[in-house]
């Protein structure tokens, strides 16, 4: 397992700074998950989950990203939002735990 934090600062209109965080998470013996995440008041404002994994149906990832918008940036909250999707979908190379770790890993959450 290998995580790497790379916080970046960007600006939006009116020069209000927002924090964009990135993480690369390698599932041991599995696939690579990349997270790009925007936080606002410790809530997820935007998230992009990419990687070389497989999940069927494929739109599951877009649905997870939508569901996570507004979610408190805490491991338990993230896992609770993510895990129901993994019960319904067929997934290979990663699971709900790995995805939660990948997301939380952008800021080393406990």
């Amino acid at each position: 397992m290998n995580t790497k934090n790379r916080p970046e600062i960007s600006t939006i209109e009116k020069n209000i700074p927002i924090n964009i965080y990135k993480n690369i998470y390698k599932v041991e013996g599995g696939k690579l998950i990349r997270i790009s995440l925007e936080l606002n008041n410790n809530k997820i404002k935007n998230i992009k989950i990419t990687g070389d994994f497989f999940i069927h149906p494929e739109n599951t990832i877009e649905n997870i990203e939508q569901k996570l918008i507004g979610c408190k940036f805490a491991k338990e909250d993230i896992f609770n939002k993510v895990s129901p999707f993994f019960i319904k979908a067929e997934h290979f190379g990663f699971d709900a735990f790995h995805l939660t770790e990948a997301i939380a890993g952008v800021k080393q959450l406990k």
Binding site: K4, R34, T50, G51, D52, F54, I61, E90
Partner: protein
Amino acid sequence: MKFRLIIDSNNSAFMNMGIDESIMHHVGTGKSLPTLRLYSWKPSAVSIGYFQSLEEEVDFDACEKLGVDVVRRITGGGAVFHDKELTYSFIISQSAEIMPKQILDCYKKICRGIIEGLAIIGLKATFVPLNDIVCDGKKISGNAQTRREGCVLQHGTILLDVDVDKMFSILKVPDEKIKDKMIQNVKERVTSLKHILGREVYFDEVCKAMISGFEQGLVIKFSPGKLSPSEEKFAIELAKEKYSTREWNFKR
């Protein structure tokens, strides 16, 4: 059950992905027979997995410089440099009796065709879940599957030859600091027919072996065929309006 065989070399990346999707659409609506298509890429191309970010995986400028096409697949998995290889797609209704219901079993079944084909050429290969075929412990074939429109579509590659250094001049690595180590690692883990057999291996030879391999491995019989006018028309539309667009290729 009747099966169609299409041998279709030298299409662009956009057209190759358009043809695969078009066949899937026509098989799904009962207008076409289940199909094995054997093809290659002209020019060479990089395909990225459905969930990958093109910006993160591919050096777009290097591709432009080398004249390499870049396309997003509708299947998951990793980035692939399609250079000296034979690519196949196998498209069949999900309800076909010969297809297992579980995705992993489905991979295993379709990969049996490739393993039998490799055996005809003289290679002993095995399936390694989820989606690899290995020979002497090294990967020689990668495969990816999707299920849409009531169909199973699996496509994959059989490496005729591999140039790992050229591959990494196009693909980005997660961590530049360990790039050399990664390249070394891939050299140790990936092989090709040329490397194993110690001679040049050509598309036509592998094509013939794969046709027999699929017939033996899946216990089916192919009739040679070609795209229907409707399949061709839809493939051209998909190539133009989906697979060659920035909107699709940079969608994640």
